[in-house]
Symmetry: C7
Subunit: 93 residues, 7 copies
């Protein structure tokens, strides 16, 4: 079983572990939006067909996204989050 996002959406999987490594990413709460660290699992057709968007994120990219957006879904015991493209703030390279 897998999830194919519809419209302008992306399926991501939260990366909890790295938040604990000392030299890794630490994400303090902010007044605006509490960012989160995750891995891209799948991308919608809309984004793949969008000249401007498709080059910006790929499956397996590590991304910062806005926690206050998206919907959590647990599939076969694994938790995924469905977010909109605009809720992906940056790619960590």
């Amino acid at each position: 079983m897998n999830l194919k996002p519809i419209g302008d959406r992306v399926v991501i999987k939260k990366l909890e572990a790295e938040k604990k490594t000392q030299s890794g990413i630490v994400l303090p709460e902010s007044a605006q939006e509490a960012p989160q660290y995750a891995k891209v699992i799948s991308i919608s057709e809309d984004i793949e067909k969008d000249e401007k968007k498709k080059g910006q994120i790929s499956v397996d990219d590590k991304v910062i996204y806005s926690k206050y957006s998206g919907t959590e879904v647990k599939l076969d015991g694994v938790e995924y989050i469905i977010v909109k493209f605009q809720d992906i703030l940056a790619v960590v390279k």
Copy 2:
């Protein structure tokens, strides 16, 4: 009798049962939107004629949708939900 959705809408039928299988989908409430699991029953002409949208969902697809959208309608004793295309979050394959 059947329902043909108007505009950018889709008629879906909630799948309660699978929510109880252990390896299946479990959908925790989220601050943003409480997702739901359903089957696509019928799709509007607008979506069928929309190059970008028509390929993304088909009748009988199992989908995740946002519970806080849509209108429940019971037809000949069966309950359906009329939602907008953008409220379909992902297809489960």
Copy 3:
């Protein structure tokens, strides 16, 4: 006397009776919008001239619409409701 809707509007007439038949439509209140069952009486020029919309509803169609939209008007003792096209959720066939 008759009503010709202006702009993106449709004149409908509520169908109370069928709501009571056992095998017919039952419309529970929903948190989003309380749907209603009605018959299409007249359609605006805008809709008749709109390639995407004109094919989707016709006079005499039985439709589900959103109760919280529209304006009730009684003409020669008959009550009609003027709604926008987007408030017609589905056609019952």
Copy 4:
């Protein structure tokens, strides 16, 4: 003296009397908008030059409009209402 509406506006004159005739129009308050019955007095240039709109209402048409829109103006002792085109709900023919 007369009023020429600007932009997407129409000047109308309320028809109180007919609201009292038995076979005429009765307009109950509605949760959405309280409709009113009026006669079209003048139409803006924008509407006269708009292919979609100009054919839909004419001077002297009797129309249903939304009471909660528009501005009342008394000119030479006669009260007029300036409303936007979209606040004209239907023409009574």
Copy 5:
């Protein structure tokens, strides 16, 4: 010294006096917007260059405008009001 409005704006000068003449304009408060009577003093370049708008109002026109919009400015002891084009409801001819 004079005022040249920027963007989609018009400079007007309130006409208090005529509000008192018996056969003139009387402007009751309305739930929507309290109209006012004024004379057009200057018009922005945007409006002069706009095919749809330029023909609709001219300097010295007497207009009805919405009181709850605009900014009052006193220049050399004379009070002017800067309003947007859409706040001019009608021209009195």
Copy 6:
């Protein structure tokens, strides 16, 4: 050091003094927006490249702007305000 505004913005410098001259500008508070009197210091590239906007304001113009918009910045001891083009209401000539 100087400030180059980004996007649809303008840098202005408030003119306090003239507000005190008797024949000059007096700007009473208004329910809508409290206007202010200022001099244009610099204009963004977007505005300079915009056919409609560039001709309307120039560096050194004296302008009326809406006080409730913009951001105050003190640079080398001088206070500037960064406002959007639409917050410039009129040029005083």
Copy 7:
């Protein structure tokens, strides 16, 4: 490790120190938005490909941005802020 912003975003790094120098920038709180002083670290592809935007900010530019926008992210012990292009108010040259 570095951050590549997605969509219409820019990654900046706050410049605390200069806020303390006497002849430098002092940024008082304002009713609208509390401005901040920062250095541009990276710019999204969308902005680099946008004819209007790309020329306006470059990596290493010192900029004024709106504090109440953006998301703070700490990467390898360094704190960055991800803001939208429109939240960059001006470049300090």
